[in-house]
Symmetry: C2
Subunit: 245 residues, 2 copies
């Protein structure tokens, strides 16, 4: 049973243990609000130190799978709390999580001098060139949003339309070509109304309400790499967040 301690210990023990527990929870072998074995018990069960046990449990608590009560024990969170954790995802991932097939239609992709508001978000000097990508985003073939990305590429680098069309994921391209990993983002949401052009592209009537998301994404080095503006169809898109204190 305690199948921990793989010799091919590519992954740390606490991570292996967390996976084991997470699996038990997801399969329902541990019911909501049921207590898991105490930390001292888990120590014996899996033959690892309490340090490791606590690291694994910490991880699952942060992910919303477990919660602790001092003096009482550690318990399984109800299903409700296990989903919708506010994570940094691309549009494609977002759609897949919602059970929709992501799609896109590239309207424009070009290098251009960054507009002033974009420069501010990306912390760039005046006259800097950025990659501008405008795309119509689809979910199950239906228009979901209109996305405009401004990307601060390393000096002299660029991405071609073909590369973007083939992978579909800017994030993967950034990682593979430039070793830039999106790790954090600031996002704002507000309401706006569709201009004639936006309405036409999104196949709604002019003046329809839209959800406007503006996001600045930061790399693993905490430098701004991307500023994205997405106009979501108000009738098709709902935003999820999970808050903690």
């Amino acid at each position: 049973m305690p199948k921990i301690v793989d010799p091919n210990d590519y992954t740390p023990k606490y991570y292996q243990l967390a996976s084991i527990l997470r699996e038990q929870i997801e399969q329902g072998r541990l019911a909501p609000h049921e207590s898991i074995p105490s930390e001292r018990n888990l120590e014996e069960i899996y033959s690892v130190s309490r340090t490791t046990i606590r690291q694994a449990i910490d991880l699952l608590v942060r992910q919303g799978y477990l919660y602790r009560e001092h003096g009482r024990g550690t318990f399984v969170s109800p299903q409700k709390l296990q989903k919708g954790i506010s994570e940094l995802t691309s549009f494609s991932e977002d759609m897949r999580r919602r059970g929709l097939t992501p799609g896109q239609k590239i309207l424009d992709i070009s290098m251009a001098p960054a507009p002033e508001n974009v420069r501010k978000h990306l912390e760039l000097a005046e006259g800097c060139q950025v990659l501008r990508i405008e795309r119509l985003r689809l979910g199950d073939e239906v228009p979901m949003g209109l996305q405009t990305s401004f990307i601060a590429l390393p000096e002299g680098q660029t991405l071609t339309r073909e590369e973007v069309e083939q992978t579909g994921s800017i994030y993967r391209l950034l990682q593979e070509k430039f070793h830039l990993i999106p790790t954090e983002a600031d996002e704002t949401l507000e309401v706006t109304l569709a201009t004639p052009r936006e309405a036409a592209l999104l196949q709604i009537s002019e003046g329809s309400p839209l959800l406007l998301s503006e996001r600045t994404t930061y790399s693993q080095y905490r430098r701004a790499i991307e500023f994205v503006k997405i106009l979501y169809r108000g009738d098709r898109y709902r935003y999820y967040a999970k808050l903690t204190r």
Copy 2:
């Protein structure tokens, strides 16, 4: 200098240390992207074990103040990333963070059978009574949103209009009277249009776009305690979130 180890050690050492470091960062004594002393150095500086050091740094990393790079060091996050962390806050706290003075006008407060959608969110049986509070929410005296709360109180308990008016904070009341602490919440945001009644209350024209927030709040025991619906004026309210991966 190393003013750690207060004898009145009500608060744990790692928390004290985190406060010291956080203060240095906020005061700008540590510049963005500057490295803080290594963990082994901090061990000597503050005369605490590496365990404690790491716990303190972990906290600050989660809060967005620091970031680590394996093999290189621990660095100060730029200011941008330190704010807007998605935390569970009440309307009042939210307003204060935006530099506005929160206010409210209670429209209704009564015990009522929970509507079906509310029952579902609160995991209640049919016919259960909930406390319904409808309030016009103000920021600097100006209408910001229309809030309807449904609260699952302990059997037979209730809150009076006076209590709510005096404290202004439902959360504080819940904590003081019933020892219920809001710890987690699921929130959704979407776009909607103002009905005549909503428009009149919010002092906008009928059909104006609104930002609709629906939130289910959970106690420290992971039981749903509150379902809140807030209609924000689209022209006055913007939602902030911080995403990580």
